[in-house]
């Protein structure tokens, strides 16, 4: 993964708008959801780093996450966002894919 660049990530997020999207989202140690499927209508990024990302979906849904620091587009075209602390431990993750993630 590499450090997030707002304009790059914004561009990558846009690829998923209007699509049926599989979402993995977690606040590590507290909650995770895997393979939520949503019809994504808007994707936003905010902040100067760490970043906040918000998704609008299904006409009336929101998913908002903060403390995101790193990103990667993997070889399957999935957008992986994560937030790490200063010791490399993951605090949050937000992954978007057009196919289901392995269960």
């Amino acid at each position: 993964m590499k450090k997030m660049e707002r304009s790059e990530v914004e561009k990558e997020l846009r690829r998923f708008v209007g699509a049926n999207v599989y979402v993995h989202s977690e606040a590590t140690s507290y909650v995770f959801v895997r393979n939520f499927t949503v019809q994504l209508t808007e994707a936003h990024i905010a902040g100067e780093g760490p970043y906040r990302v918000a998704l609008r979906f299904n006409g009336d849904g929101w998913l908002r996450m903060e403390a995101l620091t790193d990103y990667e587009v993997d070889d399957q075209g999935r957008l992986l966002l994560a937030g790490f602390d200063d010791k490399g431990r993951m605090d949050v993750a937000l992954h978007l894919g057009k196919e289901a993630f392995p269960e």
Binding site: E26, A82, F84, K87, G88, R89, M90, D91, A93, H95
Partner: protein
């Protein structure tokens, strides 16, 4: 010659939850018995794919961590002398939500196949993590159904079982294994689990400094209460 044959035929089955449980908790004991020719089978319920530690600095993400931890576990098994490894393919952090019956049956099947003389797993309540307690509970049930409850021991953390009374046990329930001659292998296994141990600076200090962090003993709780005269307190294979 007879003795040698007997040594070779001894078998130990270990049913745990995450890659690294075997090394971080009881790696010295595994290395010791492997060095004596005991055949060790490790079953890991998960691949530890929901862990927070991703290397330091991080080099993994949620989608790559499972394969990386499996690789690291295979390396750790080599360090300790564990010959057989299998996964139950349960997602990390969800073991306690699995239907117990099919899981117990699967573990019974593994017990039947591997015909162990000793089974090690987590204690159902002292396991320290929901996945640990859950896999310990079903493994204990599988042992009972297989008629192997007398072979079952629970692993324990550090030297907490120096004072078994604090946890409702007596000294008679505890087996204390001297692992002082096998700490190099244990350290190598810690380092094999790089993405998990990288954050712990002491692991990567010069060997003599890192080794000084390990205790000389690892402790196991006998699942069944046995009569004091029959029980060897310094060997799992009584």
């Amino acid at each position: 010659m007879n003795n040698l044959n007997q040594e070779v035929s001894r078998k130990l089955l270990l049913v745990l939850a995450h890659p690294d449980d075997e090394s971080f908790i009881c790696g010295g004991t595994l290395a010791k018995y492997a060095s004596e020719g005991v055949q060790i089978t490790l079953v890991s319920a998960t691949r530890g794919e929901m862990g927070r530690r991703m290397g330091n600095p991080p080099y993994l993400n949620r989608e790559t961590i499972a394969a990386a931890r499996e690789r690291e576990l295979r390396h750790a098994c080599d360090c300790l002398g564990i010959q057989q490894l299998q996964f139950l393919d349960i997602r990390d952090k969800t073991v306690e939500f699995m239907d117990e019956e099919p899981l117990i049956s699967r573990i019974e099947g593994i017990i039947h196949e591997s015909a162990p003389d000793v089974v090690l797993t987590f204690h159902e309540t002292l396991g320290g993590h929901p996945d640990h307690c859950a896999i310990g509970k079903v493994t204990a049930a599988a042992c009972r159904r297989s008629g192997k409850q007398d072979y079952l021991y629970y692993i324990s953390f550090g030297n907490m079982m120096e004072q078994p009374e604090r946890y409702g046990y007596t000294r008679n329930d505890i087996v204390k294994i001297d692992v002082s001659a096998h700490l190099e292998a244990k350290l190598a296994a810690f380092r094999a689990h790089r993405c998990q141990s990288e954050i712990d600076e002491w692991v990567w200090r010069p060997d003599h400094e890192a080794l000084a962090r390990f205790g000389a003993h690892e402790y196991f709780i006998h699942a069944e209460t046995v009569s004091p005269d029959r029980h060897n307190h310094y060997d799992l294979f009584h």
